[in-house]
């Protein structure tokens, strides 16, 4: 198996999806439905980015499907002029798994939020990631429950004062990127709603990835959690707060790249240093394709959950791993090869019959 795995060409995630004959524009992916998010919601920016990026894939849009759960972001499919399903709370990854596993000619996207994916649907999310089904999961993280009007979410910082936690929330939040890496995800990225260019580039890489891709999108809820990611968006603060990861590049940030990430030789963990002549060569070079998830996980832990300082964005991890639906399909082919195409009459009769003569 090891031999064939290394020799076989990587199957591009989209190779089985029919291509569009005509040139597409953003308009082709817009529906006639009125978009009903709150004015100023970060979801608009993500929708525009997705609609704007889709034509670049050149896929027949009838072969694109958006599946969502419940929550503000889960209205997304109604606004995409593709096939779509707005399902029930937390279950979109499971539903999309059945669709993707049975239809390899489709490009299947899951749109979910921090409550939908990490609370009620946590189980489906981690299992989709470990199975590596050909799904692209866009996790809109606004660190709050919006549609139910402002309760804390599983990504809210500890002590969050909300309607359901007047004295502050008690539970420690998930870091969705850490969680995904821990769940054996083959592709994990993080981006920000307001950075159209970065968002688009991450989406492009996710779309091309064979298997499950998880993209966490920091998204502002201007009604119930406004400014949650301001530190990453404000130009000045972002210099210090955001670590932009580029595969093959040194991990540096701050004004003129004055800061960098190095491995602490004592603990093996990562730490942030001021870059100097002496330590410049020790600054870590980002390797998204590393077989081991260890460094990607360590990078995901650099962010301070309260202040969001040192938040890495970009593709943290992108590795090739067997894809569930491909393997499932191969088993079907192998069964036909070994046993021949199913013969219903022979199956029903079995090997142990007797005959009653009239």
């Amino acid at each position: 198996m090891a031999d064939t795995a290394t020799e076989a060409p990587v199957i591009d995630a989209l190779s089985l999806v029919p291509k569009s004959d005509a040139k597409q524009t953003m308009k082709d992916f817009k529906t006639d439905q009125e978009v009903r998010w709150c004015p100023g919601c970060g979801d608009y920016a993500v929708l525009a980015a997705v609609q704007g990026f889709m034509p670049s894939l050149g896929l027949a849009k009838e072969n694109v499907v958006f599946v969502s759960g419940i929550g503000c972001s889960s209205r997304f499919p109604y606004y995409m002029n593709t096939y779509g399903m707005h399902s029930i709370h937390g279950r979109a990854p499971a539903i999309a798994t059945g669709l993707a596993a049975s239809r390899r000619d489709l490009s299947v996207w899951v749109v979910t939020g921090d409550g939908d994916a990490l609370s009620i649907g946590g189980n489906h999310l981690i299992h989709a990631l470990r199975r590596n089904v050909n799904l692209k999961i866009l996790l809109f993280n606004n660190r709050i429950y919006g549609l139910t009007k402002g309760q804390y979410s599983p990504t809210s910082e500890v002590g969050k004062i909300t309607k359901s936690t007047p004295m502050g929330s008690l539970d420690a939040p998930f870091n969705p990127v850490s969680l995904a890496i821990g769940a054996e995800a083959s592709f994990v990225a993080r981006t920000v709603d307001s950075d159209r260019k970065h968002l688009t580039e991450v989406l492009r890489q996710a779309a091309a990835h064979p298997g499950t891709a998880l993209v966490e999108i920091y998204q502002n809820c201007n009604i119930f959690n406004d400014g949650a990611f301001e530190v990453l968006k404000d130009k000045q603060q972002a210099e210090e707060a955001v670590i932009r990861l580029e595969h093959g590049e040194q991990i540096r940030f701050g004004i003129d790249g004055a800061k960098g990430v190095v491995r602490d030789t004592q603990t093996g963990d990562l730490k942030i240093v001021d870059v100097t002549e002496e330590n410049q060569s020790q600054i870590l070079v980002h390797d998204a394709h590393s077989a081991s998830p260890t460094t990607a996980f360590a990078l995901s832990r650099l962010a301070d959950p309260d202040t969001l300082h040192h938040t890495p964005i970009g593709v943290l991890r992108s590795v090739d791993r067997p894809v569930y639906d491909t393997e499932m399909s191969e088993q079907l082919d192998a069964a036909v090869e070994q046993k021949g195409k199913g013969d219903l009459g022979a199956l029903l009769a079995g090997n142990d019959t007797w005959t009653v003569v009239g």
Partner: protein, 631 residues
């Protein structure tokens, strides 16, 4: 010795009696291989051409502590030279592999029956473990039974000494010794079992041969020992069966085959999303073997993901199926509701077991009927269909698929533990007898907007069936979005309009109410019975057997059995009103009776039992007789 030889050697001077039917129960520890022994005897009996019905009964624990009452596993088999309907009320023969098996099963065995006991296990320690102070073999408590004490373990070890197995390993073949003995007693063909053992242990030929040797030793023991003076013949039930090719089949196997056949007849790939649960897992196991039929089986992370994946596959144009038992149905409820709203075909299969909660995982019950009917939020009608015998599970699966595909709806199929594990002869259908289930996917726009543009409306219904079009991803021009939020009639766009919601709720109900189901047939030979016994699902066998009994005693009784519980057959109300009295036996506390009373305002009487076991024919006959006598 050749395989056929042992079947022909029948000792001179041994008496052969003819019987019309026999009920045998094999009972032992859950590690004694009683289910395998029962299965093999069933196969022998099937290939001999008897009619038969079986009742496996085993604990939920895989290996309960050895020699204890909770660890007893049994397999009852009823076979006859005529057509029979149940696994039988009371065994004529009990094979008890240890004191626990004797103690647990003796209350069901009438005096006069034969009891074969494995005396090796009747040690002081084993006896005291189940509370016997003295051995029942010696204290006279088995007087009135025909007891055959046989040291099954010792004889097996002796027979296998040339194989060089450890005593412990050799002793494990004692179930085959017992099977050989019973096969001799009832003139069963032996070739099938020997072939079976060779195949089962193909990779361990020594073990195969040891088991065959034990099996033959058991046969020869019957032949030679004086304790077994009589053997019995039960002629093939040739008149009970219409001409055809037959096999023995269990309910779960028949259901699995029905699903594969449905996929084939619909020309759709079959997709099973399932999470292991007793007693439904065997369907997952079976379907996963048949990938060469294009069957995809997905063992999900939980019950919800199982049905979710099946629904996702259905959206993509597969025949989506999920299989489970009652606790799983509870977890799947929200997704069934979504399927009701999406109006996609989906098969939801519930192999009912004792409840509530974990209940009795390996035992049978019919207490999920109201859950199937109503266990969802909102008005979420779902067709409900129930097979009546193990083999009928095949036809029921095809029928459920027909309804799901024609009406674009989830369908609940209610089997149960008794049907799932029980087996009976089945006439293997020719594939050209199977129904045509092909569907037409939408390929064209179906609606013209005011400005003249052609568009696709996912909720524009077929005026006859009220089914909506099924347009699968990959179909150009029909891109559309569906979801669990209320949809505008026709366009399917989100709508909170009060009048539209009222219309959609009533339309979804009307669609299910309008499903075509055959009229219920009434068996009322002279047409003058005043009592109707009405059943559904797996009570068919015991009810029919009870009806035969009381008719045999000169009583009049009419019988009808429901395959379709939602919607009910159109003539059901009229049928109910024809009779002065209606009795409904169920393995719950009266769930069908509740539905019947509510819908038809008929004073139906419940007769119920929730023992985890099917009704006994005698018990039902007595209840029906009382109902007749009490006018």
């Amino acid at each position: 010795m050749t395989t056929s030889a042992i079947g022909e050697q029948r000792g001179a001077g041994k008496e052969v009696k003819r019987l019309d039917r026999v009920i045998i129960r094999f009972a032992g520890d859950s590690g004694d291989g009683m289910q395998l022994t029962g299965d093999r005897f069933t196969s022998e009996t099937a290939s001999f051409g008897n009619d038969l019905s079986t009742l496996p009964n085993f604990p939920a624990e895989i290996r309960a502590p050895a020699g204890t009452l909770p660890g007893v596993s049994s397999f009852q088999l009823h076979f006859a030279d005529h057509d029979i309907l149940t696994p039988g009320d009371a065994p004529n023969v009990l094979v008890a592999m240890n004191p626990a098996a004797l103690k647990a099963n003796l209350p069901d065995v009438p005096r006069g029956a034969e009891i074969i006991v494995n005396t090796d296990e009747f040690t002081k320690r084993a006896l005291s473990k189940v509370g016997y102070e003295a051995s029942p073999l010696d204290d006279g408590s088995l007087d009135g039974y025909s007891v055959h004490p046989v040291p099954l373990g010792t004889l097996t070890v002796e027979a296998l000494k040339e194989f060089g197995l450890s005593r412990k390993d050799a002793d494990r073949s004692k179930n085959m010794f017992a099977l050989g003995l019973l096969s001799w007693m009832y003139h069963r063909p032996t070739e099938g079992t020997e072939n079976f053992l060779r195949t089962k242990f193909a990779k361990k030929p020594d073990i195969a041969e040891a088991n065959i040797a034990a099996f033959r030793a058991g046969w020869n023991f019957g032949e030679t020992t004086e304790d077994f003076a009589v053997s019995y013949e039960v002629a093939p039930a040739s008149k009970a069966f219409p001409p055809g090719t037959y096999r023995s089949i269990s309910g779960n196997l028949a259901l699995s085959y029905g699903l594969i056949a449905a996929g084939k007849q619909a020309d759709l790939p079959l997709f099973l999303g399932s999470y292991p649960i007793t007693p439904a897992s065997d369907i997952l196991h079976e379907l996963s073997k048949h990938k060469n039929f294009g069957v995809r089986t997905f063992q999900a992370e939980d019950e919800i993901a199982g049905i979710g994946a099946a629904l996702g596959a259905a959206f993509g144009g597969s025949l989506g199926v999920t299989t489970t038992s009652g606790p799983g149905i509870a977890l799947k409820a929200e997704t069934v509701g979504l399927a009701v709203s999406l109006e996609l075909p989906l098969l939801v299969i519930d192999i009912q077991r004792g409840g509530p909660s974990t209940g009795l995982p390996t035992k049978t019950e019919q207490a999920d009927l109201l859950q199937a009917m109503f266990g969802r939020n909102g008005e979420a009608p779902v067709p409900v269909i129930a097979p009546s015998t193990p083999a009928d599970c095949f036809t029921a699966a095809l029928d459920a698929a027909r309804i799901a595909l024609t009406y674009r709806t989830p369908v609940l199929l209610l089997s149960d533990g008794y049907l799932a594990n029980g087996s009976e002869p089945w006439r293997v259908p020719e594939t050209d007898e199977l129904p045509d289930l092909r569907v037409q996917f939408a390929t064209q726009p179906n609606h013209e907007l005011e400005d003249g543009t052609e568009t696709f409306w996912p909720y524009k219904r077929d005026p006859e069936t009220l089914a909506r079009p099924w347009a699968i991803p990959g179909t150009p021009g029909l891109e559309h979005r569906i979801g669990g939020i209320e949809k505008a009639d026709g366009s399917g766009n989100i709508s909170y309009d009060p009048a539209n919601h009222e219309f959609m709720v009533r339309t979804r109900q009307a669609k299910i109410d309008g499903i075509e189901v055959p009229d219920i047939e009434v068996d009322d030979p002279d047409g003058d019975a005043s009592l109707l016994v009405l059943g559904w699902g797996s009570t068919y066998g015991p009810i029919t057997a009870a009806v035969r009994r009381i008719r045999g005693a000169g009583e009049k009784v009419a019988q009808a059995h429901l395959r379709h519980i939602n919607p009910f057959p159109a003539n059901l109300g009229e049928v109910l009103k024809r009779y002065d009295k209606v009795v409904i036996p169920e393995m719950n506390l009266g769930q069908l009776a509740t539905l019947i009373r509510a819908k038809y305002l008929v004073d139906a009487q419940s007769y119920t039992q929730v023992r985890g076991l099917p009704f006994k024919a005698e018990q039902l006959a007595t209840a029906l007789k009382e109902a007749i006598d009490n006018g």
